[in-house]
Symmetry: C2
Subunit: 206 residues, 2 copies
């Protein structure tokens, strides 16, 4: 029986972690997205327990106090967080849980749950990073500069991660992540009774 | 600049580590075999520094005393060992050094150099393990039983390894090992200045 694991895909704004996550999910059926909790109101089509776990401020704060989040953040006027229970349940079932998250969130998770597999997604060049930030198109020059400067600073945290993947082409990045997944599936520590499983096949003759 | 690593491919007698190592080496040109040192006399076609490093007993013992071996063993009347220097030099050059070794040797290396990547090769079933031991054909029934019983005991050490690979078909085992290699190549700790390498491409605009 093999346990799954939490795959933390992280990187600065403009590294393309959203696109890569989506491409990876579309390609495989052994990965589930981690579902976040939030205190913001559900939008018309959003379903509780599917898009988010929607919580009141009180509920969120109580869970936070009880250490029930792998990470959490207060953004504008609302809390967001990754509930530990959902992740752990899926891992026990053998699933890979994918969490796409910014660098600050990933560093929080590393403190709380270092058994996760941490991948830092890198832009191929700083020029390309800037292009990607600019292409979002909805921001002022000042916003762009701030994002770029933050992204630049966040590259310093790559040393805290297990693996790095250069996102030059989405396809290549997905292939690299799949190699990491294949290797992590072969990790001894995620398997119980490896010896027993060899012995139990075709009967024991020993 | 990326450093290589030591890949320790190990497993009990009959796991097929020799066949798998050879198939892996034939497929790739970024892997070098670790060269052992020995005190036995060279055979006619053997070249010093290629097949083995041939040493006198005194030389071997001196190196052993100085901690210059990753592991060593005394077999029948001769010493065999893995010189640290060769492995480290190749790793610095960025090479993957493949060491195919029995379980006892791998456990010694783990004590001396835990940065290596340890793979335990498993037979698909105990019946198949016995078949493979029998197929060697040069041994008595008693030898076969001893080998089988030792192999069975050695399976207990799988927990000391990083990864396990089931050798049902050589091709599949090689594919699994290649996934592990691909992932290990993406390990942050084997790379210096990841940030710098992103910055230096296409000039810095920051």
């Amino acid at each position: 029986m093999s346990k799954g694991f939490l795959l933390v895909l992280s990187g600065p704004s403009g590294s393309g972690k959203g696109t890569v996550s989506e491409a990876l999910m579309n390609k495989r059926d052994d990965i589930v997205f981690s579902i976040s909790a939030t205190t913001r109101k559900p939008r018309p089509n959003e379903v509780n327990g599917e898009n988010y776990f929607f919580l009141t401020h009180d509920e969120f704060e109580m869970m936070k106090k009880n250490g029930e989040f792998l990470e959490s953040a207060f953004v504008h006027t609302n809390y967001y967080g990754t509930p530990k229970r959902f992740v752990m349940d899926e891992i026990e079932k053998g699933e890979i849980v994918l969490l796409e998250i910014d660098v600050q969130g990933a560093l929080q998770i590393k403190k709380n749950y270092k058994e996760a597999v941490f991948i830092f997604l890198l832009p191929p060049t700083m020029d390309e990073l800037r292009n990607r930030i600019v292409k979002r198109g909805t921001e002022t020059e000042e916003d762009i500069n701030t994002r770029f400067s933050n992204a630049f600073k966040e590259l310093d945290f790559v040393g805290e991660y297990d693996f790095f993947v250069v996102n030059d082409e989405v396809e290549n990045a997905v292939k690299d992540i799949e190699a990491i997944i294949a290797a992590e599936r072969l990790r001894v520590k995620r398997h119980k009774d490896i010896k027993l499983s060899v012995m139990s096949k075709e009967g024991k003759k020993c």
